[in-house]
Amino acid sequence: MTATLTPTPQREGARRRSPLAWLARFQSVLGLVVVFVGAIVFSPTPDGEIIFLSGENLTNIVRAVSEIGIIAVGMTLVILVGGIDLSVGSVLSLAAVGSAVLLVDNQLPLAAAMALVLLVGLVFGALQGAASTLLGIQAFIVTLAGLSIARGLARLWSGGQAVPIAYGSGPGEAPIAFSLLGERTFNGIVPIPALIFVAVAGGAIAFLRISAFSRHVYAIGGNEKAARLSGVPVTRVKITVFAVCGLLAALAGIVHAGQLNQGGPNDAIGYELDVIAAVVIGGTALSGGRGTVIGTVAGALLLGVLNNILGLNSVDENVQLVIKGLVIVAAAAVARFAPRT
């Protein structure tokens, strides 16, 4: 029982007021602004019009990031408790396949099919959370296994082939309402998936602000032992968080199926990396206890704008990958020097 206190210098307090710290606090939003301005500058301008800023292009960006963004909200929670979920891409694919098969082959009513698919994601996530917490296995390993399992289930369920979705009321046709996911609303400007993303993110931000649950999430990621000694139900909270992440991955899978009009068992491979990148660019610490959903939304949009402007300029896809990687490192470097608030 010797004193093992190693007093750390209190420079963090002093740093808090430095301009760099202030900058770092809003790093993801500022990063988004920087990339946005850059995109305006580098936008192709045929006929003097800045294509990047056109309403259609901007809404396209939001639509393009909606799947990643929806999952990233769940991933933020998982990373906040100090976990990680590598299975989300596979779960997305499983849910997309599930939507197609249940609607087309099984002719389930829309609401029943959606509820079932969401339930699959929820249970899959909860099982991963339970395996991690109750068996004491690192989330990285459990969800690495989950990545493999969900992918396998998706292929088994679909018979290894993408399941096409045709709309109508006859046999082998899905309810037309499902095709709304590929549509736009508000005079054909706002894509439905973008709306879902905004709703999920807004709901999560509001919930985190007012719920006791979110305080528990941050405390567990910050110091699990202290949280447990404070009476926080650590196991329950962690399982819940993994369940929510699975649920949101399944929701993204439904959106995916609706946009592409099919359920592809080989879709969304590697999505988990884009999702984690969005969360990290958003300033959430992989060590847990530190981060925001707002940051994650900004991170996802930043990646979307980047992809969009590189695409508009027809930059080589492989070069795009390199640039994306460099942005992630830059974001992490800024976060490294960020104040610990």
């Binding site: 029982m1 010797t2 963090e12 307090g13 910050g222 949280a227 610990r340």
Partner: protein, 513 residues
């Protein structure tokens, strides 16, 4: 042999940490083939002195002579090169590596560029044999019991050709047969002419093994004695030897009904955790309005008792019982304990008490969110008011309650923990070393708060290593030794010496027990 020239001579050693004079003018010699015990209360300067001797602390005043030659160590490696090795309380072993790999860690033997596993194992086996230990050098250290690990550390030190071996409380986590083993090895070393500096609080051990004993107090040498002719009482007086400070305010509150009763509590751990001393026959009571102290040496089981009462101790079948307000309870989680009105301030607030980079506010309210909101929702305004309320009540000095707690001083951090714990409205408050690393002013404030809480009818159980604190703050002191409760003193009559003697295993005459 003990009259030969000293292996090491320390002369006029002084060291200051900021405003604290840890050592002033200390002399110490270690002769070949002697076991030299170093005694003193916490903060007497033992650790600092040994860190200087082992090269860990390099800026100090005074002289070190090794075999008659003045030396100034640049670091621990330099001291090891001069034949001085220290065995720390926390065993610095890599659990997944084998015994041989640990012994040769950082200076692995190579043959033609490749690791010479067999060579290392043979040399390790030879060292182990020298100290009479039969262990396979290829076994991973994590498979060994704590006592065996202790012997591996000694083997490692010997393989460095250490002439002087410093052992810092080596027996605190050992069973009695392992202690016997360690002493056999120590006698073996003594025969080989190694000088051993032995830090311990246990008088019986020192009487068994030491040839000389030097007592330190407040950074100064009190004297060097022959431990075989000296009584425990004399040693204890030499260690304390100062008027008890009167920063304490003992509560003279009416003591109420019995709140907490522990009857012959024992935990048979299912999976023993190394370095732990689980309750093995503890009985005590805490009444409303009473502050009961928990005394005991390092490894006596104070922390483990508090953790067991809070439901976060070792898992395993329990015998005896715990009664809260007369009803038997089985604490099985922190949530359960909190719901039943038992709160706990853990030993190391940085490790177990706080989320250091979170705000004062977040740390204050985390245990009592249920009372701040309802249906799982929390109002930010009420949360803020609750935290401000706690900060004001406990006098937490912080620029803003949104500041991260690690910008606060140790005393204010501890007050944040106390504030959080009190927001759960406990009936029984368990505290483990609540004033460690806390400045004198904040200490006094914490004592005052404890008195106030007792006045409101709380029962307080306070574990501490500081005797003046226990005697000064508590109404009664229960002494633990090796997981058992061995004495129960009324502090109106007991002296520090009585408590210390009971903790060390020797009952002085005149003690009420």
């Amino acid at each position: 042999m003990s009259d030969s020239a000293p292996l090491v001579a320390l002369t006029g050693i002084a060291k200051r940490y900021g405003g604290v004079q840890a050592c002033r003018d200390i002399d110490l010699t270690v002769r070949p083939g002697e076991v030299h015990a170093l005694l003193g209360e916490n903060g007497a300067g033992k650790s600092t002195l040994m860190r200087i001797l082992s090269g860990d602390v390099t800026d100090f005043v005074g002289e070190i002579e090794v075999a008659g030659q003045p030396r100034r160590f640049a670091g621990p490696a330099d001291a090891q090169g001069a034949g001085i090795a220290m065995i720390h309380q926390e065993l610095d072993l890599v659990p997944a590596l084998s015994i041989a790999e640990n012994v040769f860690l950082g200076r692995e033997l190579r043959r033609v560029g490749r690791l010479d596993r067999r060579g290392m194992q043979q040399r390790t086996a030879a060292v182990l044999e020298r100290i009479g230990v039969r262990l396979n050098p290829a076994r991973p250290v994590e498979q060994l019991r704590t006592g065996e690990q202790q012997l591996v550390v000694i083997a490692k030190a010997l393989s460095l050709d250490a002439r002087v071996l410093i052992m810092d409380e080596p027996t605190s986590a050992l069973s009695s047969s392992e202690v016997d083993r360690l002493f056999d090895v120590t006698r073996e070393l003594r025969r080989d002419g190694v000088g051993v500096v032995y830090i311990s609080h246990r008088m019986d051990e020192i009487a068994r093994i030491a040839d000389r004993a030097t007592v330190l107090r407040n950074g100064e040498t009190v004297g060097t004695f022959d431990p075989r002719t000296m009584s425990t009482a004399q040693v204890v007086e030499a260690m304390i030897g100062r008027p008890v400070q009167s920063v304490f305010t003992t509560s003279d509150v009416e003591r109420g009904d019995e709140l907490l009763r522990v009857e012959d509590l024992a935990v048979r751990h299912r999976r023993p955790r190394p370095g732990r001393r689980d309750p093995d026959g503890i009985s005590l009571t805490v009444r409303a309005g009473e502050i009961v102290g928990l005394a005991g040496l390092l490894g006596a089981g104070r922390t483990e008792l508090l953790e067991t009462l809070y439901g976060v101790g070792s898992a395993g079948p329990t015998s005896g019982q715990v009664l809260l307000g007369g009803d038997p309870i089985t604490p099985r989680s922190a949530r359960y304990a909190l719901r039943n009105g038992i709160a706990f301030v853990p030993e190391d607030r940085r490790v177990a008490g706080l989320v250091l980079f979170h705000s004062v506010l977040a740390n204050t309210v985390i245990a009592s969110l249920g009372s701040i909101g309802r249906l799982g929702l929390v109002s930010a305004r009420r949360e803020r008011r609750a935290a401000q309320d706690s900060a004001a009540r406990l006098g937490i000095k912080t620029a803003a309650i949104s500041d991260p707690v690690d910008t606060l001083s140790g005393g204010n951090q501890q007050k944040v923990v106390l504030g959080r714990v009190l927001r759960t409205q406990p009936r029984v408050l368990l505290l483990d070393e609540p004033t460690r690393g806390v400045d004198v002013g904040a200490k006094a404030e914490i004592y005052e708060l404890l008195g106030e809480l007792a006045g409101q009818g709380l029962g307080v159980l306070l574990a501490s290593s500081e005797l003046p604190e226990l005697i000064g703050v508590c109404d009664r002191v229960v002494v633990l030794r090796a997981g058992r409760s061995v004495a129960d003193f009324d502090t109106a009559q007991a002296r520090e010496a009585d408590v210390l003697a009971a903790a060390m295993g020797e009952q002085l005459t005149g003690a009420t027990s």
